[in-house]
């Protein structure tokens, strides 16, 4: 089922940024709703976006579609220390209980309290209001191991066959 089946339009496909001037690092002012850091993805369909040393973590649109309606979010306590790949919680949907794995090493600084009353935010707004946790980034080099948005789009095309 696509996001459109809930009467909510799917998040707009964001155009890849192009360099405005050669040699100058580009920013993406036209990326609506995206925080300053660019989004990186894991092969397990989590995303992380880092801003001022704090990473916001969520699941991708591909993942929320595959999961179905989320009915419960089990998230860690603030202060929990996570290593990359550690299980940090679970999402229960009509399909199954599905584990969540940390994209990076760091410490949980905040959890999305809105999900307690409204777990469906993960489906409706997986990149904005449906974020799961925020965490510190202990080893920034771990970010390089993750996929860029374009690489992730290619990856999901390849697994969708």
């Amino acid at each position: 089922p696509s996001a459109a089946s809930w009467g909510v339009p799917a998040p707009p496909r964001q155009a890849p940024c192009t360099r405005a001037y050669p040699g100058v690092p580009f920013s993406c002012p036209l990326r609506t709703g995206a925080p300053r850091g660019s989004r990186k993805f894991t092969d397990k369909h989590e995303w992380i976006s880092v801003d001022n040393g704090i990473g916001t973590v969520g699941i991708s649109n591909f993942a929320q579609e595959a999961l179905g309606d989320v009915v419960y979010c089990s998230l860690p306590e603030v202060g929990t220390k996570l290593n990359k790949h550690d299980e940090f919680g679970a999402l229960e949907s009509v399909k199954a209980a599905s584990e969540l794995y940390s994209p990076l090493t760091g410490e949980v600084t905040e959890i999305n309290a809105a999900l307690a009353e409204n777990p469906g935010l993960v489906n409706k707004s997986c990149y904005q209001d449906g974020w799961l946790i925020k965490m510190t980034v202990e080893n920034p080099t771990e970010l390089d191991e993750l996929m860029s948005e374009d690489a992730y789009e290619k990856y999901i095309k390849s697994i969708e066959e």
Partner: protein, 373 residues
């Protein structure tokens, strides 16, 4: 009996178990059918964890068949107080377990069979599995009116639930398990799955109650043993797997290294009760004392199974000032558990002056607080 090395290596190495029916050159025919020798719910749930974590399921399927002595099993994110009558469970010696998959609360006894379908995450397909079960049922009883609903229940005669489903998705592997009611104790099932606790508020996943029926009521040929065989047969055919059923002993650490630790973990209070999502209790009870009836209001907040906030409101002067607050204060930080109340109640009695009336009132109050848990 499986030889220890055979089972583990079969599940872990990318060895291929070819049956005579496997397609030529096809590794997709690899698979195993396992059946538990135990009826202990914790041991059997531990086996599921073990297979899910240890087995290499990339090109392999595993079916696990199991039955439990009387037990209630709640889903991963459920609230046992909302789902069942814990007092009745304790009274009848029925075990309470929390599984790692989602879904609702179920009652198991030896008249119920459990089927777990292990696959890679990619091959996770509940409908396929349930249709397999329906084929198995029809093979034994061709005119049986059974079908799979869009909630992944199996219903009999269009109205009675005979099977419920739950599932877990891991990093690379997944499992789907379901129940099948053959000849379970239905009256006990209804009684235990009815919660008497009032005033609970939480966002835990709630069960959807259904009318149930046993397959044996429909057709006496549908015994647990025959059903287990029929499902194994159908599974073997569907997945081109050897139909031989391997028996496993969930207590055997040599065959299943680490199984004891997993079993123990599933039995801990921290897992069974402590994993309950945060909830609040806002209720009252009536105390009958001599000729009067007093209303006592209780408000609590429970997180990780422990009482974080506690307020007990007793009508003025029934108890000495401060005594009520003392009870509430002692309960704060304790487990939401009747045994804890008993301990606290007795502790206070030891320090209490020899005042029979006061002791009697105290016991009455504490007994009623216990009944909330």
């Amino acid at each position: 009996m499986a030889l220890p090395w055979a089972l583990r290596s079969c599940l872990q190495r990318p060895c291929v178990l070819r049956s005579r029916r496997a397609p030529l050159g096809g590794a997709a025919g690899a698979g195993l059918i396992l059946q538990s020798l135990s009826d202990d719910v914790y041991q059997n749930l531990a086996v599921e964890d073990w297979i899910h974590e240890q087995a290499s399921l990339e090109n392999r399927q595993v079916l696990f068949l199991w039955r439990n002595a009387p037990a209630v099993v709640v889903g991963r994110h459920q609230n046992p107080w909302q789902e069942c009558d814990l007092g009745l469970l304790r009274q009848k010696g029925i075990k309470l377990a929390r599984r790692r998959s989602g879904g609702g609360a179920v009652y198991h006894d030896l008249g119920n069979i459990n089927l777990t379908f292990f696959t890679s995450r990619k091959r996770y397909e509940r409908m396929d599995n349930l249709e397999l079960v329906v084929r198995a049922l029809r093979a034994l009883s061709p005119r049986l009116d059974v079908r799979v609903t869009d909630r992944y229940d199996i219903v009999l005669g269009g109205r009675y639930k005979i099977s419920g489903t739950a599932a877990k998705l891991g990093r690379t592997a997944a499992y789907h398990h379901c129940t099948l009611l053959c000849g379970a104790d239905k009256s006990l099932l209804s009684a235990v799955l009815k919660s008497p606790y009032q005033g609970l508020r939480s966002n835990a996943t709630a069960s959807v109650p259904s009318a149930v029926r046993n397959l044996l009521e429909e057709d006496p040929a549908l015994t647990c043993e025959r059903l287990l065989e029929a499902v194994a047969e159908e599974y073997a055919a569907r997945h081109h797997v050897d139909r031989h059923v391997t028996l496993i002993n969930p207590a055997d650490e040599a065959v299943l290294p680490g199984i004891h630790r997993k079993t123990k973990e599933l039995q801990t209070w921290e897992w069974v009760y402590g994993k309950t999502p945060k909830f609040s209790v806002s209720t009252y009870f009536d105390l009958t004392y001599e000729d009067s009836v007093l209303q006592v209001k209780v408000d609590m907040e429970v997180k990780h199974g422990k009482i974080e906030v506690c307020n007990i409101d007793v009508p003025e002067q029934w108890l000495p000032p401060g005594l009520c607050q003392e009870l509430a204060k002692s309960l704060t930080g304790s487990r939401f558990c009747p045994d804890e109340v008993t301990v606290l109640a007795s502790a206070w009695l030891r320090t209490c002056p020899r005042d029979d009336e006061l002791r009697h009132k105290w016991n009455l109050l504490c007994e009623n607080v216990r009944m909330l848990m």
